[in-house]
Symmetry: C2
Subunit: 816 residues, 2 copies
Amino acid sequence: MANILKKVSWSSKDDDGGGEVNEATSLVGSRRGSGASVAGKRNSRSRFLSSSGFRTVDLTDGDGISEEILESQEVFTSPRPKEIPHSENLLSQKYESLDYDNCENQLFLEEEHNLGVKRVKFMEAGRWTVCMAIGILTALVACVIDIVIEQLAGLKYKILKQYIDTFTADGGLSVSMVIWAAMNAGIVMVGSILVAFGEPVAAGSGIPQIKCYLNGVKIPHVVRLKTLVVKVLGVICSVAGGLAVGKEGPMIHSGAVIAAGVSQGRSTTLKKDFKVLEYFRRDTEKRDFVSAGAAAGVSAAFGAPVGGVLFSLEEGASFWNQYLTWRIFFASVISTFTLNFVLSWYHNHLGELSYPGLINFGAFESTGIAYYIYEIPLFLIMGVFGGLLGALFNFLNYWLTVLRIRYIHRPAQQVLEAMLVATVTAVVSFTMIYFSNDCQPLGEDKSADYTLQLFCNDGEYNSMATTFFNTPEKSVRSLFHDPPGTYNPVTLGLFCLSYFLVACWTYGLAVSSGVFIPSLLLGAAWGRLFGIFLSYMSKGAWADPGKYALMGAAAQLGGIVRMTLSLTVILVEATGNVSYGLPIMLVLMMAKWVGDFCFEGLYDIHIKLQSVPFMGWEPPATSHSLTASEVMSHPVVCFKRFEQVGRIVDILSDNTANHNGFPVVEEGENVVNVNEQGDADDFGKLRGLMLRSQLIVLLKHKAFMERSDVGEPRHRLTLKDFRDAYPRFPPIQSIHVSEEERECTVDLSSYMNPTPYTVPQEASLHRIFKLFRALGLRHLVVCNGDNRVIGLVTRKDLARYRYHKGGLEEVPLTQT
Amino acid sequence: MANILKKVSWSSKDDDGGGEVNEATSLVGSRRGSGASVAGKRNSRSRFLSSSGFRTVDLTDGDGISEEILESQEVFTSPRPKEIPHSENLLSQKYESLDYDNCENQLFLEEEHNLGVKRVKFMEAGRWTVCMAIGILTALVACVIDIVIEQLAGLKYKILKQYIDTFTADGGLSVSMVIWAAMNAGIVMVGSILVAFGEPVAAGSGIPQIKCYLNGVKIPHVVRLKTLVVKVLGVICSVAGGLAVGKEGPMIHSGAVIAAGVSQGRSTTLKKDFKVLEYFRRDTEKRDFVSAGAAAGVSAAFGAPVGGVLFSLEEGASFWNQYLTWRIFFASVISTFTLNFVLSWYHNHLGELSYPGLINFGAFESTGIAYYIYEIPLFLIMGVFGGLLGALFNFLNYWLTVLRIRYIHRPAQQVLEAMLVATVTAVVSFTMIYFSNDCQPLGEDKSADYTLQLFCNDGEYNSMATTFFNTPEKSVRSLFHDPPGTYNPVTLGLFCLSYFLVACWTYGLAVSSGVFIPSLLLGAAWGRLFGIFLSYMSKGAWADPGKYALMGAAAQLGGIVRMTLSLTVILVEATGNVSYGLPIMLVLMMAKWVGDFCFEGLYDIHIKLQSVPFMGWEPPATSHSLTASEVMSHPVVCFKRFEQVGRIVDILSDNTANHNGFPVVEEGENVVNVNEQGDADDFGKLRGLMLRSQLIVLLKHKAFMERSDVGEPRHRLTLKDFRDAYPRFPPIQSIHVSEEERECTVDLSSYMNPTPYTVPQEASLHRIFKLFRALGLRHLVVCNGDNRVIGLVTRKDLARYRYHKGGLEEVPLTQT
């Protein structure tokens, strides 16, 4: 056990960012009283794997932990606490930011200057080619998932049907149940072990993680090859294991990983560098490709290329650029086309292109009138209901997640929980099948493949069993399209209730799982129920429950995930029918409004529970009253343009202040050391900004000059040196600097960003936020009227302020 | 004639921006050699109304023209030149910028500070309400246009049919032709007079103008009530007059005007202030509503709410904000819903909601397979063809526009040209009808209403006549849906050729006209022809020419306007069929690529020909080598915090340097006057930024203090004073300042923006561009290392640099 735990335990050395640990420059307990008060709750010796797939980092695995922190944590000296406090009202210092603003240092400018027109065109062509590769690969992964799951499901059904047929005759149905439950639990166990012990970040749908990535937060391991492998195998297991999950959400994450991998022209995990696409090895370019990958994932999952683009934009991007959007669109189109081609081939319909996505809702009849105007109020009521039910779902899932963070944080526990859920799901299903006598005649027009006779007469099948045995995708389709009278209302009602609880319990398990399909299925079920009720009330005048099933599905999904624009398009593209576009929009809007009024969206909950410094779309409404000087972190550690190696090493090794950005100030002026708590007036005039990662590369390559050297350094680094180290820069501890070398000097002038963005100290939080968000910054230097550095604003300094009922709320920072 | 000309002639006094004339602070002939060399071409005494609806401003109506400029223009002293040079390689100084960055001065911060949580919510509710109003009103305007055109077309058809029936028997068809041509010319004349003499900016589709507005360029009169009225009446006349135009493009402009009007809670034209929504009286808020209006316009025109949102984003916005997008989406949904409701009511189908947009392509059969994979190469070929044809269209239209700018710049000429085109269109149509003997049996399945028998046998009709007599919308529909064999290939080929030329001639006339429908019709015609050809080649195996008509329409439209994402969605929503989504995308992408390779998009051409300082999506590729100090305008006129009224008035009245932004610098330091050409070191330290408009309001309200006053000014202005003057600030000439008042001082500190964005002088053009574009700035102050002002970057300084084959190109500035 300890061995296994060690395997997944986390040290800063295998982090994507290497030694980069902490964006903020604030000192614990210095300016931030609130931060200090939280320290008591902090448990820095524990590691926990979050249930929603966020991997948390134990900073104190290193040996540089400060006395101060250790003192405040005496209470938690037991190596593994029983309870870990949840923390949706904290921001964690452990997440790093990505830098979506190019560092235009001298090296970069020289490279750009030498770039000919041809090279520019070549690079543009490269971007399109990479997008094409992303689309194709994402679609192929989707095909693999789809085909394997279908094969497994067919196999499972076959075995089970055999047992049921055998035992039903003898009346020993409980044996079938046990076999079924055991089979499901076994398959889920495999998936869960992979996730819990292999790569916890592959749990869940991955959508919150991708949202964070596009927002500019580095979630460790989120775009690694290993994550992709675990995700794909995991989702196959969880879907085949009969859990109430879908394979669509994970496709989005898979697409993003593929994009991050392909665009870099190498795999750091496999230690294989193809020496291509080196120009794209920086956060800005990578982000663009990751959004294309996410879009391609949606496109493959739902056959919705436009929906994919909108998803990428609505959920992720804070940037909008026509060219980029076209590339994203291209990746999406290629993705759905490839999937369509391969699946049509697989199903022997080559040439017909009838499989645009993993899920296909089937065409709604477009002949005749789609809906009447007097149905719109009914749709709106469904929207309200969907919003309420979605909020309830989110609320329950929130508490479950809190409980999981507190009590179920060991991988073994997580695997057991997943197996338990799989068993319960199987048992509940079976019990319901057993008690429902909902026999339906076997017709030609049924879209269900897996029909079970059970206690029904010959020529009939148990519709409840079908609902549970089918993959959720097929069940959704049945609910949309089966003719009126196919489902017994009581059966459907029971199904809704049980599936709601099971789905809510399932999301957040340590398995790869999407929440789209369960939501759609749930909504389709109660929507159809609503349709049946209407039909009953109107004595058959409203005879089409399928239409209401579609609206219910939209309402429920909207109520849970709270997307509107992209979801409308996804649903319209997946149903292949535009005529329901307007009511779907209205339903989604209503569900979003009602849902937002009651409780947050599911993804936002999971992001908040992980204390991610996520930046909203807009600055908090009442943030004009705060100024930069109140918001910023200070004092700041600055470097001189010619800096001593020893001082750099000391500062980088100082774990009490895990800075990642260091302003470079005017030569010859006083440079305040962070430990001296100097007066602001002592700071030098701003000349540039260095990143920790750049300094690490400098130290690693010993780009020093002797004291006696004047002018040129011994050897000057090129951009290639920095790109080769990206994104896994080694920690400072791994770099040996001799006593002699400590006396050397480094010339930072050609490596620093000479024109960092700055704000005056009087600038309002509102203004800083806009600048920061619009440009995707990582550090923003605050200067006084003389252009002297007085502070540094980072993501955490801004994300700390939230608009809460009654006004601005300051969220404390924590180091766990 | 002179009287009429005077009426539309333009002085800076009736400009939206009043005295604000010129963003750039550069002096003619100072730093910009290229600018000076252009001066020879400049004709500052002429006014011309552009054929594409841009109204150009004659700056020299004022009396402050500099000697230098006058000297260089001796050649052009004739009051009205025969020829005006076209200028796609110039940038005009006459266009002002909009300010999409809030001025967070003390007044604003105080207001924000006092805003309670309730008020914030109230304002948010206000935004949604305004969007709803925008949606409803846009839809109602669309309904009015649609219904009036339909009535007029019916009336015209009735009269004409009567004549034709009478005269055909006698063999005197030429009489019918004359009557028809005269009728068309008459109707078009009314529309053209309205546009040419009433409001030239209402010409064309208005899409380039809205693009400019959203980009941040103020096109005078573009969002005025008068423009809306002229636009609506104009488009009715031009469609009813049988021109090759559509009513869809103008709807986008109409929606934008409605949005700008509704959101301000007053009409400056009608001098009616409802004293509501005063908070929204600034460029930022107005822009958000205008994008919602444009989206609502698309939504009403095509029944495509999602397409509307995407149009707004793809064509206009450089900002992306989830909340804003949702509001835009809401306006779009409301718009299509209202239109649907009203039109269904009008057509006595109340409750069925079967009229989602002005144009309805009709449902494509979704039963069976939509297309085979081997058809995709064919679609791609169509895309290539569409791109080529689109480029040819644009190329011809470009030369036409150049000729129009040169020779047809008087309103009377423009009216005559419009009448000529109307006549030619009628004659060409008639001739073609005459010579084609394309008789088709009158069937039940035809979607055409207006059938003409002409020389055909009883029970048959002339299909060519139908194509010409129908509104283009109906013709498109016929081409999509009429069964194979409806159209004779020769007829169709002739129609393509003639319609191509006529449509190309038409776009750019001084009439309100959209290019969407002519493009679709043209494409549908050659697409169908292609389909017929395929069917012939394959001996009937490919029997559905309607599908190819759809692809042709997409290819042609894409080749002309070069949109991809939004156009895909618009076409999918308008056809009501998702199954053609993928091929439509591929076709559009292909058309765009091929088209872009050959020639620019139609809207971009018209924007360039008007010398608008339009900022692209991305900085030019090789722009890293230029720095702020090379790009910026300098020297800059600065003010002190306590500035003398006399100096302010003098500087504002100085027409040689029409500055709009003035840095405010440290008290007590030297402040360089622009006439002294001082050394950069003499500049003061930056303390804030004042706008011309703010200074004007200060002067108007005499917010001075005596020399003897210390501390408080006599009266302090409130934000309301500034909002009341927005957006039509009076020119400085209209403000009388007495000699005594000139000696007074103004305290600028509470009005200036204390935290303007700045860049260091070493920052690259690339970096400045990104900052400028992302935040929608109007002025960007360039400071040196001591935070002293050394220059100012404006839109024109950045838009001047274009990426041209071979590298960076610097476009000269001109004052015309």
